[in-house]
Symmetry: C2
């Protein structure tokens, strides 16, 4: 174990073994808004590395090499986890090679890779900015990477970024955008015993659901990757009382759109799709193009074996994209296990990611 | 005013003036489950009438003549009101002849008619059972008339009953039945970014709403009265989170059916209507046939002027019907004002009802 409780905080050994480091990170409680102890330990350990410049902003910690290389890349991971769900602290099944516990897959396995590389690569062939940030698992407004982009945009300037969200140690490029609207029907209340005096807003929503049921998704191919859009009712509500014809029905719809469409284009598509209905935009985040044409990106993809999949879920990759930094997801563990009580990671994937990134940063 | 606070409870003067009595009743607080003070006052006042036998059950008070007449009729009203809504105590606009306040229309105007007739008609031409009951405005299980029918069915035995719910002083005969079902669709959850891996239960509800929107109501004519059925979604709900394809959608549907259909027939109709969907019955109450063929009913309708309208809303009329007692709604006030903050009754309608019933019980 790489964790030692010194009595004045947790001390992390970044250099010994990447899997031991992942175990240590899992055992430091860091549910969103409670990342301070872990951020302190990370900062303290990184300050012990003479080849790094370390900057602290809130509970976000940045460490950088400054070797004057021709390219700079970012390796980023969030420190926080979703709430404990009977899975803290972690448990290491040595025989199976599986690390169980909160954050094991999302994303302390990835954080361990970042920190181990930071500590053990004094002279990478590309300058590297290592970013460990807070509050990714909660509302957008708290996101540590967002705050860093606002306060210190220079710290995120780079030619390429790797966000170490779990991706089964495969490269997921780009990111679909997401948008939510509330589509409303109006009616007129009446006692249900005299329903013909009113107008039923729930019945009026039938056409909205008909359009959704008939929706055919676009599947554009971008940089060789096929994206698959989606348009789904994620919530429906309406009704006043058991004996009242309802005067309003609201269908909340989530649109996931491929990164060849701007947010404006996606909004226009949805408004046109629901033409004739009151449509209120409640959430909107852009997608990110794969951006695989830059040298650092190409060489990274080659180092991982050349396979790239499109990313469907929205991640902070798109935040880098908005800053003009092409980014990919690449990290150990199955993303479908994230936020589950039985969250776990195959430690071989942690070692694979560490090996691949080390090779890429040594080339 | 017919109300005197004696310091040991409220004393009601039943004989002086029916409108004064209505004003007094409105000013005794009797929100459902808080009817005791009013039931006490009613019991005490009725016990002062030597020609009546008085029975008390909980907060329900029954008074009867026992003159050996060939027919017996029931006049019934509930004592409780919905909660106070800035409209207690009442206010009498003498110039306009309008009594404002909680319970003025639902249904202390009708109660005043019952109590005034009870006190001032020592020898009606039909034996009369006067019933003032509690807890009509709350869940069915509390209904005082229901409890009386269970504990003392003989007290409700009669040839005809008049329920003095507001009906604009017109006769409303029969009563539609009411039934509720929950119609469910099932799907499969998935992250909305990979929606094709799931199955959207809200989209699947489109066909349920299509059927409802296309529903054509029956309008059967019974005893010369046209009933108008209804089938309405009164609530819809579905959704897990803003980024999850939902696996369930529930549409709550209220069916109002004409009294020529039994509850079994109505249920079969609804199940057939939603064939192919999971359909759970949650509420079922029978209708009541108009029952205008009995002599007491015919003469009552003649006394009111001969006009009869069908009753659409479900009322305790159907409870009498289930006991084999034909019943009608007939009472002062506009039912559309019931349960409103600006509840009010034209006092001329109170006088009209009192006059009509007196003539009928004197014929």
């Amino acid at each position: 174990m790489a964790l030692r409780d010194t009595g004045i905080g947790t001390s992390l050994d970044l250099t010994a073994d990447v899997v031991g480091l992942a175990r240590a990170l899992v055992d430091v409680h860091s549910v969103s808004h409670g990342e301070e102890a872990l951020a302190d330990a990370v900062e303290q350990a990184l300050r012990g590395c003479g080849h790094l410049e370390v900057i602290r902003r809130g509970n976000t910690v940045v460490a950088r090499t400054d070797l004057g290389r021709s390219e700079r890349v970012v390796l980023a991971g969030h420190l926080d986890t979703v709430p404990v769900n009977g899975n803290f602290p972690g448990r290491f099944d040595e025989e199976a090679g599986v690390l169980h516990g909160l954050g094991s897959v999302d994303m302390k396995g990835g954080d361990a890779v970042i920190l181990h590389l930071a500590a053990t690569m004094p002279a990478p062939t590309r300058d590297v900015t290592y970013v460990l940030y807070d509050a990714e698992e909660v509302a957008e407004e708290h996101n540590g990477l967002r705050h860093l982009a606002a306060s210190d945009p220079d710290l995120l300037a780079a030619d390429f970024a790797v966000l170490m969200e779990p991706s089964n140690a495969g490269v997921e490029a780009g990111c679909q955008g997401t948008l939510r609207v509330e589509v409303r029907t109006a009616g007129e209340r009446a006692h249900s015993a005299r329903s013909w005096r009113g107008s039923n807003a729930i019945h009026a929503a039938s056409e909205i659901l008909n359009r959704l049921a008939a929706y055919e998704p676009r599947k554009p191919v971008i940089d060789g990757l096929e994206y698959h859009e989606g348009l789904n009712a994620v919530r429906i509500s309406g009704g006043v009382a058991g004996n009242v014809v309802p005067d309003e029905c609201v269908v909340e719809v989530n649109h996931r759109f491929a990164p060849d469409r701007s947010t404006d284009e996606a909004e226009a598509f949805v408004r046109d799709f629901f033409a004739g209905y009151d449509c209120t935009l409640t959430d909107l985040a852009p997608g990110a193009l794969p951006g695989l044409d830059r040298p650092a990106a190409k060489e990274f993809v080659e180092a991982t074996g050349g396979q790239v999949a499109p990313k469907f879920g929205w991640t902070d990759v798109s935040r880098f994209s908005a800053l003009g930094v092409p980014a990919v997801n690449y990290g150990p563990g199955d993303p479908l296990l994230a936020h589950k009580a039985d969250e776990r990671v195959d430690v071989e994937e942690i070692r694979t990611c560490e090996r691949v990134l080390r090779a890429w940063l040594s080339a």
